[in-house]
């Protein structure tokens, strides 16, 4: 049992975090559009689901707190409380507290006194809000009176029950549940539905076919009402609508119920979408038409004829039905898969790629045409499987970005600045394993931009800018990598100061000439930033070397652009995936190397004239362009002389180009990246290894490092 439960618990934690995320997004949305009913509902639903699930696991702390938050939300939802900034702040606080409680539960820890105090403070805050509401109730209460009298009065719950066929056989009598329900309050109205009752022959007298629509006046809360049906929970369809539910809720209920749509009118009545008075009038009309039940016109028709249920309401119901169906199908399109399973799949695909390459090679050697054709087809399919498998792990970066809404909101409050977050390119996808690791560096950059990049409102106004600062998060795909930009419209970096500091620190020589860009990027150098420089350098550069290290660990790079007075943009460039790449295979001596294909611009033959010149200069003339180069033969100290004819592979990364001089061009190759052991971590110019179809090992070139090296060599020579 403990095993099963712990699995389910993990799912609960994951789901709760997802719901909390949703809750936060909705709350932030409410901040700008306070009467977005859908967002309020989303917040309520999230809280409610978390409460319900944590109840199942006996996580009482979460239940207790969430219950209080839910009460508050319920008041908001019923328009009893005006949703203002303070209230949203409080609700955000509640959300954070729930998150803390979930964290504590998932860590199997006890609640510490600090958390407890926070919880109590929040509860007190909520109580104050609720108390205050009573006074302003009259003013605040302008219920949405939809067509056809959409709202039910007072504390009347609507309960919709459909018992499963086996309840009677299981020794439970639906009547006893209804009797028990009646002890919670007063059953105002009950309709017994026999729609599910089959024909006389097919009807099994020991099965239950009845359904009930009940309106109950009660002070009990939803959990209490739900608990009435605890023993039949799995055996019945139970829908409980809170007092004051809107027409839309009833419509949803109608759609959730199994009865025929033709009885819409009747069910609307049963649901209380029409008032009791209207119902009585219609009943009287129905009575008049005669006692014989079968000739009686359906109540719904009468209601429409008598214009008690407006056609609009029916239309709305139908529209809603379509929407709901659409949403349901969309929801059904997602499944939750354990990340490990995906990793395993991708590993297997990796092995498949290697095995496929081996088979292809054999077929080629044999010279068997049919076999080559077969392996060619197979390798195409393997390609597709590989892409498909990798796509499974791709997630849009938007989720990560939207988390910053909250960071920006909180930090700007903290700093007393008015800062707006603009997100673009949220749909850009990247590997989940990369997404997980990018959060911290991004947070760092965002905080930095807000703290030091964007000036205070007064300074902004003085320099003729809008007092509202702007922070941009942008993402896009660029030659096989994803680029993430964090930009601000602040004051920009102070170039002279950075240079001065760098010279003081001995990072650059005093008479070294650097481009602006190189100067700006000095702030990523280790040892450049220490705490005491925060203020000197208008604070920029705190821990930027850590950011760079984190990004480089992901085989990415980071650079910075800044325009004085206009702002700063930090650009992070990351590989899309960490597992499999399209590679370009080159040969140097007897060894093979792989260059990531996305970085290859072109291949040209090394002309004899250039070859001669290589000995005394560190660049090649590529159609009038200066191209620094690295000769892999020399770089890796491959034994033997170079081949008679050499080729240049022109590679590009991060806007910089370089040439790699190799002996042989061997063509495209699907490369499964195998990490190198720790022993090789210091070898420059290599980022990993892979296995060729022949079983040989090929090293994957770290193009970024090679380009850098080429550029340095060129500069040194010049």
């Amino acid at each position: 049992m403990s095993l099963d439960l712990s699995d389910a618990l993990q799912t609960f934690y994951a789901e709760s975090r997802g719901l909390l995320q949703e809750m936060e997004e909705s709350l932030l949305r409410l901040e700008s559009t306070p009467d977005d009913a859908e967002a309020i509902n989303a917040v309520f639903r999230a809280a409610h689901t978390i409460k319900g699930s944590s109840g199942l696991f006996g996580l009482d702390d979460i239940v207790a707190f969430t219950h209080k938050a839910e009460n508050l939300l319920d008041r908001v939802r019923n328009n009893e409380l005006p949703l203002n900034e303070a209230l949203i702040g409080l609700l955000l606080g509640c959300r954070d507290h729930i998150e803390r409680l979930v964290d504590i539960a998932s860590a199997n820890a006890e609640m510490d006194s600090e958390t407890r105090e926070q919880g109590e403070a929040l509860v007190a805050g909520m109580r104050q809000c609720m108390g205050g509401a009573a006074a302003s109730l009259v003013e605040a209460e302008s219920p949405l009176q939809s067509v056809g009298g959409g709202q039910m009065a007072g504390d009347v719950w609507h309960i919709s029950l459909r018992f499963g066929p086996d309840v009677l056989k299981d020794g439970m009598d639906p009547l006893s549940f209804i009797r028990y329900l009646a002890t919670l309050g007063e059953i105002r109205h009950i309709s017994t539905l026999t729609d599910a009752l089959p024909g006389a022959v097919a009807m099994d007298p020991e099965c239950c076919y009845l359904g009930f629509e009940i309106s109950l006046r009660s002070d009990a809360d939803k959990a209490r009402i739900e608990s009435v049906f605890e023993f039949v929970r799995d055996d019945c369809q139970l829908h409980i609508l809170a007092p004051g539910s809107r027409v839309a809720d009833f419509v949803n209920l109608i759609l959730a119920l199994p009865e025929d749509q033709n009885r819409l009118g009747e069910i609307l009545v049963a649901c209380g979408a029409v008032t009791q008075r209207e119902l009585d009038e219609s009943l009287a009309a129905q009575k008049c038409e005669g006692d014989n039940q079968e000739n009686v016109q359906p109540l719904g028709e009468i209601l429409v004829q008598r214009q008690i249920v407006q056609p609009e309401l029916v239309d709305a119901a139908l529209n809603k039905q379509k929407e709901v169906r659409l949403r349901q199908t969309q929801e059904a399109r997602f499944i939750r898969v354990h990340a490990d399973k995906l990793d395993e799949l991708i590993n297997l695909v990796g092995e498949l790629v290697i095995a496929g390459a081996g088979a292809g090679l054999l077929a080629q050697r044999k010279g068997d045409g049919a076999m080559q054709e077969a392996t060619a087809l197979m390798s195409r399919l393997v390609d597709e499987i590989r892409d498909g498998a990798l796509r499974l792990r791709m997630v849009p970066i938007g989720e990560t970005f939207s988390r910053f809404q909250r960071v920006v909101r909180d930090v700007s409050k903290e700093l007393g600045k008015d800062i707006e977050l603009v997100i673009t390119g949220a749909e850009t996808e990247l590997d989940k394993s990369v997404v997980e690791k990018i959060g911290d560096p991004l947070t760092h950059l965002v905080r930095n931009s807000m703290d030091h990049g964007i000036e205070s409102a007064e300074v902004r106004a003085a320099s003729g800018k809008s007092p509202k600062g702007k922070l941009r998060l942008n993402a896009y795909h660029d030659s096989g990598s994803i680029v993430i930009e964090v930009g601000d419209d602040g004051g920009g970096l102070n170039k002279d100061r950075i240079l001065q500091k760098a010279i003081e620190r001995g990072i650059v020589g005093a008479n070294q000439s650097l481009t602006d860009r190189e100067i700006y990027n000095l702030i990523f150098e280790a040892g450049f930033s220490t705490a005491d420089q925060v203020s000197n350098l208008s604070g920029r550069g705190v821990g930027m070397d850590v950011v760079r290290r984190n990004i480089e660990a992901l085989r990415g790079m980071v650079e910075l652009d800044s325009t004085p007075g206009e702002g700063t943009t930090v650009r992070i460039r990351l590989p899309l995936t960490l597992a499999i790449i399209d590679g370009f295979l080159v040969g140097v001596g007897d060894a093979s190397y792989v260059v990531p294909l996305e970085m290859v611009l072109e291949c040209v033959e090394l002309s004899e004239a250039d070859r001669q010149a290589l000995t005394h200069r560190a660049y090649i003339n590529l159609r009038g362009e200066v191209l620094p180069f690295v000769r892999l033969h020399d770089h890796f100290e491959v034994a033997g002389k170079g081949a008679r004819r050499e080729n240049i592979v022109v590679v590009q990364y991060g806007g910089r180009k370089a040439g790699l001089v190799v002996d042989q061009l061997m063509g495209e190759f699907q490369t499964v990246i195998k990490p190198l052991g720790k022993m090789f971590s210091r070898v420059k110019g290599i980022s990993g290894s892979t296995i060729l179809g022949t079983g040989e090992v090929a090293l994957i070139l770290d193009v970024q490092a090679l380009i850098q090296q080429a550029a340095e060599r060129e500069r040194a020579a010049a």
């Binding site: 009677l168 009598d173 009950i190 017994t192 009752l197 006389a200 007298p205 076919y209």
Partner: protein
């Protein structure tokens, strides 16, 4: 469960007695349907029903519907207190459309529920 039956003119009167519950439902259903097949007019007297549960209510509802489909008449009469209590709880009085005698003590029971 015993069903005593009497013929009054065209009307077949059934007097089931005891519990109309899940324990007797399997036995009761064919008996009631059989009676319905035999006569154009049926009255079920519920005076001797000591207890009724969902399965019993369901059977009565089935009978009522079947009778209506066949164009026959089915009446319920002499509702015992326990039947009244359940009909009251489920709001079924109107559904069957039969006159019900509400004795004073039945009203009290209703208040207590």
């Amino acid at each position: 469960m015993e069903i005593h039956s009497e013929q009054h003119d065209a009307c077949l009167c059934l007097y089931p007695s005891g519990e109309m519950s899940i324990y007797s439902a399997a036995e009761l259903k064919p008996a009631l349907l059989d009676a319905l097949a035999r006569s154009e007019e049926i009255e079920i007297n519920l005076a001797d029903i000591s207890e009724i549960d969902t399965s019993g209510v369901q059977l009565l509802m089935l009978m009522k519907r079947e009778a209506a489909v066949a164009g026959k008449s089915l009446k319920l009469a002499g509702h015992s207190p326990s039947v009244l209590e359940v009909f009251e709880l489920l709001g079924l009085g109107n559904w069957f459309g039969d006159p019900q005698l509400l004795p004073a003590d039945a009203i009290k029971t209703r208040g207590a529920a």
